[in-house]
């Protein structure tokens, strides 16, 4: 069974963990049968987007099973937009990543609106860290940005009900449920709300989180074999052209 992980990371985190070596990405992928992983650099997410992206670019040259997200910092859009284009030109980056907490830019911020405009022009998928009820703003923000496709990373976190409703409203919002706190019934709820199977993606947050956490969520969701194939690989393959 093919598995594509659309929410991975590379590099060390400022917690009591030792998960920064790319060898661990590959070890965990092998353990669980994950063929491809799309990663952002932890340093780019937490600290310095441009510097972190540059370090990841070097790693990606040696790792054909990994692809990259270029982290975009909405606080310095012009520089980030340049950097995104540079990263994409390497052929090893295939999307953009935005964290909302570390740079302190929420989904409803005017800075985010400007950043969405830029990404709409560029046209690559965006992995957006979503955590809270402002995920409900996404359908409105995508209405006039027809090229933008957004993966709701963590599926809204504790606002998973709002994320599910957002995905029903807009078919360019994808739900990806990785999270340490695995609230029961999130996927069942989303399906009951009417989220089409095409809008579920598989992500892990590895190596910050062991992939078995998300795989356990998938196991408990009770997908049929055909649905599993869609969620674990086909939908991501279509979205990213992999």
């Amino acid at each position: 069974m093919r598995i594509i992980d659309v929410h991975g990371h590379w590099g060390p985190w400022p917690f009591h963990l030792e998960v920064g070596d790319v060898a661990l990405n590959l070890e965990l992928m092998d353990r669980y049968g994950i063929e491809l992983q799309i990663v952002s650099a932890a340093e780019a997410v937490v600290y310095d987007a441009v510097a972190g992206n540059a370090k990841l670019a070097e790693v990606l040259q040696e790792q054909p099973r990994l692809y990259g997200y270029a982290v975009v910092n909405a606080n310095r859009l012009e520089r980030s937009a340049e950097d995104l284009k540079d990263c994409l030109s390497t052929g090893r980056f295939i999307g953009a990543k935005i964290h909302t907490t570390y740079p302190g830019v929420s989904i409803g911020s005017p800075l985010m609106a400007d950043t969405f405009d830029m990404l709409d022009e560029v046209g690559v998928p965006l992995l957006l860290h979503t955590w809270g009820t402002d995920v409900a703003m996404l359908p409105g923000m995508l209405e006039d940005r027809r090229n933008l496709r957004v993966i709701a990373g963590h599926a809204g976190g504790d606002a998973w009900r709002e994320a599910a409703r957002a995905a029903v409203e807009c078919d360019r919002i994808y739900l990806e449920h990785c999270r340490t706190v695995t609230d029961a019934g999130r996927i069942t709820f989303a399906r009951a709300q009417g989220v089409p199977m095409e809008q579920f993606l598989f992500g892990t947050d590895s190596t910050l989180i062991d992939p078995c956490i998300s795989l356990g969520v998938i196991r408990d969701a009770g997908f049929t074999p055909d649905e599993l194939e869609q969620v674990l690989a086909t939908n991501a393959s279509r979205l990213f052209g992999l």
């Binding site: 963990l17 998960v19 062991d210 969520v217």
Partner: protein
């Protein structure tokens, strides 16, 4: 078929320290005791430290009565020797696969298909009491009543009850519980409550240790043999391993927070943890067994 799709014997749990039953208004649905027990049984969780949600949210006295009634009408883990249960579970975890089919050959779909017709094993319940920290003036009597009825575990719901830290009520209740040798099931941030529990010989299970707070827990647990945490949120590839390597497997127990959390992520993490079979057995139930024997 991917290995992780099939539940393996390394995921079987002898004791789950974090199980609730009853209404929960902030969730889309409620789970009664029968539903919770069936879910645990399907997940190969053999015994649970269980508590009614009524005591957490509405009435501690009525909730405690409800918990005792429910656990007395269920099969009791003390009906057989707990040491035998540990051995039994260890044999189940390490033993040979059933004749005719290896665990890895049994798909989850087959397990699901078989479930409606299979007789699920009865899940043993151990009662967990509580005291409402918003109304703790009579807490000593409530704790005494619990102990008199054989309850040795006291769970605190500081988050749900809006307790902001070491309040007078909190300090009073934990003092009464520790004095009577009760085991505390402590919710919330261990950094917030660990200090008041240190140096008192307290037996504590922290139910909400997030992997981001691991360093603080390890620093506390080094000097406190009675401090334990559940593995529920030790989600990193090395979280469980770090606790085992730093302070020992004796400081971890399994606690799923059924019915509010998915179980498979937690059993899979335990299954794939790079620890010994003996340490896994301690986390999956051996430590709770020892704790219950000690608290009798």
């Amino acid at each position: 078929m991917a290995d992780w799709l099939t539940r393996s014997p390394e995921e079987h749990i002898l004791y789950d320290a974090d199980v609730l039953f009853g209404p929960w208004p902030s969730h889309p649905t409620d789970s009664d005791l029968a539903t919770v027990k069936a879910h645990l049984a399907r997940s190969h969780i053999h015994n649970a430290l269980a508590i009614s949600t009524r005591g957490a949210l509405f009435s501690d006295t009525h909730g405690n009565t409800e918990t005792l009634t429910a656990t007395r009408s269920s099969s009791s883990p003390s009906a057989t020797s707990r040491s035998d249960q540990v051995r039994g579970a260890a044999e189940r975890m390490d033993g040979p696969p059933r004749r005719g089919s290896s665990p890895s050959a049994t798909s989850q779909a087959q397990e699901r298909a078989a479930a409606p017709h299979a007789v699920l094993p009865e899940v043993g319940l151990v009662p967990v009491g509580t005291v409402d920290l918003r109304d703790a003036v009579g807490a000593a009597e409530q704790v005494e009543w619990l102990v008199g009825n054989g309850v040795r575990l006291l769970r605190l719901f500081t988050g749900n009850q809006g307790v902001l830290g070491e309040t007078p009520a909190y300090k009073y209740v934990v003092g009464e519980a520790i004095e009577r040798g009760m085991v505390l099931l402590q919710d919330g941030d261990p950094r917030r409550f660990g200090e008041v529990l240190r140096g008192r010989g307290a037996e504590v299970i922290f139910l909400d240790l997030h992997v981001y707070l691991l360093a603080d827990f390890l620093l506390m647990a080094k000097g406190e043999p009675g401090f334990r945490a559940t593995t529920r949120m030790l989600s990193s590839p090395d979280g469980i391993e770090r606790v085992v390597d730093t302070v020992g497997a004796e400081h971890l127990v399994f606690g799923s927070r059924t019915p509010f959390m998915d179980i498979s992520p937690q059993t899979l993490r335990l299954r794939y943890a790079r620890i010994s079979t003996e340490d896994r057995a301690l986390i999956a139930g051996g430590n709770i067994t020892a704790l219950l024997e000690k608290a009798v």
